[in-house]
Symmetry: C2
């Protein structure tokens, strides 16, 4: 159905009730995806939706995805009343879903994890780059910690580590390895958290701290950072400092990055693996 | 404000318009979190919301989180018309957000990643556990692949790998290591994908395949799996088989798991790190 075939009343689509199926595309799992891009009256929407369901049921369709842009917020309540449930939301749209079959739903779960990075940056004087934060759980505690931050949507882990260090301290870096990662749950509402501890090599040394979130930043003698009380109390601080000690003596191997392409569409991704052990095989 | 102080009309809360602030709790970042648990008329909601904003503005509040359970779907449209934007949604609620200050929003991003696992299960006969899937991109292709699946909300990576193997093939396993992981983008709507390749040790050997999603399952001689055409064409298949080859000769170290506790609330999490290199330090 293209727009010019649809009767418009004051710029709002008036579907011929009971005769039309909502515009949809099929997915790879026997389902349909509907994106409501045109302003529609709730009454027309519900009638067309009900007719669509009679068609989809008879065709054996399974999941029905309904994408409602923010501008179509007037259709959220009618959709829920017709039996749709929320699946996920982004600032500009809400995705709802309806499972047609009697069998158990195989609708994939919503994105479940927030991803964060912590950046270990060591210089040649055995100093580590650390900050004090203005907000969050450590504010006002006097604790010096490595720069950390949330990975943006669509951002690579290694790129996020480089960006966070630059933003918080002004230091330029190169990514070397993921040293370790940590998974915890219910850290951000119901979402889980994956925290990747990355090792970076500094390529500049003059600190210019960011004012919005950072109280202070410095190159701190590694031993001073390791001897902070929190390093003994907190498992994560302890492990980071132990790995750093091993790393400075070249006795620890993390995961390096290797560009790769995704399955069928040749999009670029990154593999993280023990490249040192792979060296004889991967060129 | 507790419920018994609130006048009720037919079970719906009638706020004293313009005199009450919506019930809220403060977050750690100068914001407020409102959860609308009681049925409310849109008109009352909007009036109380507007009055609340005058209070929150004068108190210098920043982000306003608005949690609307599915049963309060009638408040979604009024909230959006008052300037709220979607933040995230789960099947039973929609979270909206409003940033009060003139300065740039520091509202944290929504969960950005879906997490998947792939399970490498090798037996003592140099055979690898593989399946053919009924759905998805490889259906009907004749390709034998390792069991894979999505990590459930709140589920540990290692537990998800064990569960997926059990569900798809009936085989019991123990988790050994994360061999590598892969990050790709826009793999599930706008969300990114983190795929953890796990090595598991089988503790049972009789295959009982699941019928819903699995076409076939078998223990396949590793060399036969490695010589499938897709292993040469697809980077991820290639890397998995190369790591397996090294692993069978004990020449590859991945990340093992180590229980840990989170920062301040002592919740259990898991660290994944090169335990072999850490052996002298972590007990």
């Amino acid at each position: 159905m293209s727009d010019h075939e649809t009767p418009m009343v004051n710029g709002v689509v008036e579907h011929k009730i009971g005769e039309e199926v909502l515009p949809f595309v099929e997915d790879e799992y026997g389902g349909v995806i509907v994106e409501m891009t045109t302003p529609t009256y709730p009454k027309c929407f519900v009638a067309t939706l009900r007719y669509s369901f009679t068609q989809w049921r008879s065709q054996g369709k399974k999941g029905v995805w309904l994408n409602l842009p923010l501008s179509q917020v007037n259709l959220v309540e009618p959709a829920v009343k017709e039996g749709f449930r929320y699946h996920h939301a982004e600032p500009t749209y809400l995705m709802l879903v309806y499972w047609i079959p009697e069998s158990e739903s195989t609708i994939p779960l919503n994105a479940s994890h927030r991803v964060r990075v912590g950046a270990v940056v060591l210089n040649h004087n055995k100093e580590i780059l650390v900050v004090q934060e203005k907000y969050g759980l450590l504010r006002g505690s006097g604790v010096w910690k490595i720069p950390t931050g949330v990975v943006d949507e669509g951002e690579d882990i290694f790129a996020a580590a480089i960006r966070e260090v630059k933003e918080e301290t002004g230091i330029d870096t190169e990514f070397l390895e993921v040293l370790a990662f940590c998974q915890t749950h219910e850290s951000f509402f119901v979402k889980s958290d994956l925290f990747f501890i990355c090792l970076l090599r500094p390529t500049s040394f003059d600190i210019q701290k960011q004012d919005l979130e950072i109280e202070a930043a410095q190159w701190m003698p590694f031993e001073d950072s390791a001897s902070q009380p929190i390093t003994h109390k907190n498992e994560l601080f302890k492990v980071i400092h132990r790995i750093c000690s091993l790393k400075m003596e070249k006795n620890y191997t993390g995961f390096s990055k290797k560009p790769t392409t995704t399955f069928f569409d040749d999009k670029l991704g990154y593999l993280y693996l023990n490249k040192q052990d792979m060296n004889n095989l991967i060129t």
